[in-house]
């Protein structure tokens, strides 16, 4: 749609601007403030320059959490995106069963995050959980509070359970926008199933898939509640992802300086990656519009 240029539109945006300034900019400025200062208590602060950042970049703890986070996000993206596409391709296209699928698939997305954690914490327990009990019964030792691999598998399966539907729903929305004529043309050309996917379905899905990947990257990168409820970051530090580490530092130990410096770097990483995705996304939009 052609938009008219009208600077008065700023007045319409003003309420949002004020609200977001209050709930985002002021807190962020506090963080920036702490990141460059040190204190001996009693609210006396002095300039610390970049020392917190230097400390953090030299600390093994931060890098370990960072690598764990990268590994986590990479693994869940590698599972959820293909699985989501497969599910979307197999969903009924319309009718009652399509609605049933939509509703059932959305259900995990609407459960409070700590309840998701609780569900899996119970489900994977060897004594009272269906999954843990079954695995134990067939002779697989599965103890996510003690074993490194069991803990990781639990949080990854939990995330796949929680969020694959999001990818599937978006991919499905993309598929729905393909006119029937495309499929009929493919049929006349006797295109193989793979060719239909590669040249018709995939290009149409690409735009929404980018959104799905962007959202899944962002959310998995700042995941806190679910793994915290299940493993508490353990065993040892095995599942201490970035957010868990940050909350430990900021609210547990009250190390304001390092926590603030950590926050800034954390936010910048997410921002940078999201900006790349966003640019690709808007360019795809433009290409589609042409």
């Amino acid at each position: 749609m052609d938009k008219t240029t009208n600077q008065k539109a700023w007045f319409l945006v003003l309420p949002v601007l004020i609200l977001v300034a209050f709930s985002a900019v002021i807190p962020l400025m506090t963080v920036v403030n702490y990141a460059f200062q040190d204190t001996f208590g009693n609210n006396v602060f002095f300039w610390a320059g970049l020392s917190w950042f230097e400390d953090l970049l030299g600390s093994q703890r931060l890098w370990d959490a960072f690598y764990r986070q990268i590994a986590f996000s990479a693994i869940i993206l590698a599972i959820e995106v293909p699985l989501g596409i497969i599910v979307a391709l197999n969903m009924p296209k319309k009718g009652f069963w399509a609605s049933v699928c939509l509703v059932l698939m959305s259900l995990p997305l609407l459960i409070p995050w700590n309840v998701v954690g609780t569900i899996w914490q119970v489900f994977a327990r060897v004594d009272i959980g269906l999954l843990g009990y079954t695995l134990d019964a067939i002779g697989i030792e599965f103890n996510y509070t003690q074993n490194f691999w069991a803990a990781w598998i639990t949080i990854i399966v939990m995330d796949v359970w929680h969020w694959t539907s999001l990818v599937a729903l978006l991919a499905y929305a993309g598929l729905q926008s393909i006119p029937d004529a495309y499929y009929q043309a493919a049929k006349i050309d006797q295109a193989s199933r793979w060719a239909v996917f590669r040249y018709i379905e995939f290009p149409k899905m690409l735009g929404v898939l980018m959104i799905a990947i962007l959202l899944r990257f962002m959310d998995s990168f700042m995941i806190y509640t679910e793994p915290f409820v299940v493993t508490g970051g353990g065993p040892g530090n095995a599942t201490t992802l970035l957010s868990i580490d940050l909350v430990k530092m900021a609210l547990g130990q009250f190390d304001l300086g390092p926590a603030a410096a950590f926050s800034i770097m954390y936010f910048l990483v997410i921002l940078a990656v999201s900006w790349v995705f966003y640019t690709v996304m808007t360019n795809l939009d433009k290409r589609d519009a042409q």
């Binding site: 945006v13 309420p15 002021i26 807190p27 962020l28 009924p92 698939m105 959305s106 995050w113 806190y224």
Partner: protein, 283 residues
């Protein structure tokens, strides 16, 4: 003609669950999704001795005692009341401020509009863990700690951008000629917006409200950090089940089931918009 019949026949066969590859994939996936939820529901209807006594696939001695515990103890059910209060406040605030802004983004070019739009999105990207401490200090210093409004305002951090994005997506679909005709007919902007435009995007407003409600409902880190007693959300109340004598599994499961219900109740109405909502109005 033959084409049309073929399409119709195909449609009919797709809407029935036949034994074919597609159905098998879907059923496997849905079973995977439902199993943990079934297990939670199953546990919530058992006594603790049965839960710990051994694995049973359905309750041998069906009991609603766990639900009765929650619904009769104020310490428990106030958790739900608190959650509902701040979630509702947040939804009202988010949708109200987002409506004019979304209209501006969908209709006008103005200085810095694209940057502003992206900047709004960056707030959706901000990890709550980054904001937990500064929010705690900000709301403590203005005396709002442990109030519903504090949590409601904190959640606007990600819900206002969400609301603006979804509404913008819906408003783009309304032809601009409608605005122009209304102005020619002598409507003032506020009157046009409330009387004509808002009814046109009513479904969009409903969907946006649903998503604001949902995202505020599922968030725990911020709401837990900003409350202690008076405004404690249900999600944080659930830690009460860990007592001296171990975990009260039955009540924990029942509390979990009760948090799923609000979403499950309304999801049927928004099923066709759910992808659009999660994608911030971009589908």
């Amino acid at each position: 003609m033959a084409d049309a019949t073929a399409t119709r026949a195909e449609t009919r066969s797709l809407s029935l669950p036949r034994v074919n590859g597609r159905a098998v994939v879907m059923i496997l996936y849905l079973v995977f999704l439902m199993l943990p939820i079934y297990w939670l529901l199953n546990m919530s209807l058992k006594t603790n001795s049965e839960i710990l006594g051994g694995l049973t696939l359905w309750p041998q001695t069906l009991t609603f005692a766990n639900y009765v515990t929650i619904l009769t103890d104020p310490a428990w059910y106030m958790g739900y009341v608190n959650s509902i209060i701040y979630v509702t406040m947040n939804t009202v605030i988010s949708v109200t401020v987002a409506l004019p802004a979304a209209y501006a983004f969908s209709r006008y070019n103005f200085m810095g509009d694209k940057h502003l739009f992206f900047w709004l999105l960056t707030n959706r990207m901000a990890p709550p863990a980054v904001f937990a401490l500064p929010f705690f200090q900000l709301y403590s210093s203005v005396g709002l700690f442990d109030t519903h409004i504090a949590v409601a305002l904190a959640h606007t951090l990600f819900n206002v951008p969400l609301a603006v994005w979804i509404l913008e997506g819906f408003m783009r679909g309304v032809p601009k000629e409608i605005d122009e005709t209304a102005y020619i007919d002598g409507y003032s902007f506020p009157r046009f917006f409330v009387k004509i435009f808002m009814p046109l995007v009513a479904s969009g407003i409903g969907v946006t409200a649903f998503f604001c409600f949902m995202f505020s409902w599922v968030e725990l880190l911020l709401s837990r950090t900003l409350t202690s007693v008076d405004a404690k959300p249900i999600a944080a109340t659930m830690t009460r089940t860990v007592g001296a004598s171990g975990v009260d599994w039955g009540v924990l499961a029942a509390a979990g089931v009760l948090t799923i219900i609000p979403g499950a109740l309304v999801i049927w109405f928004v099923r066709n918009y759910i992808a659009k909502g999660f994608a911030l109005g971009r589908v």
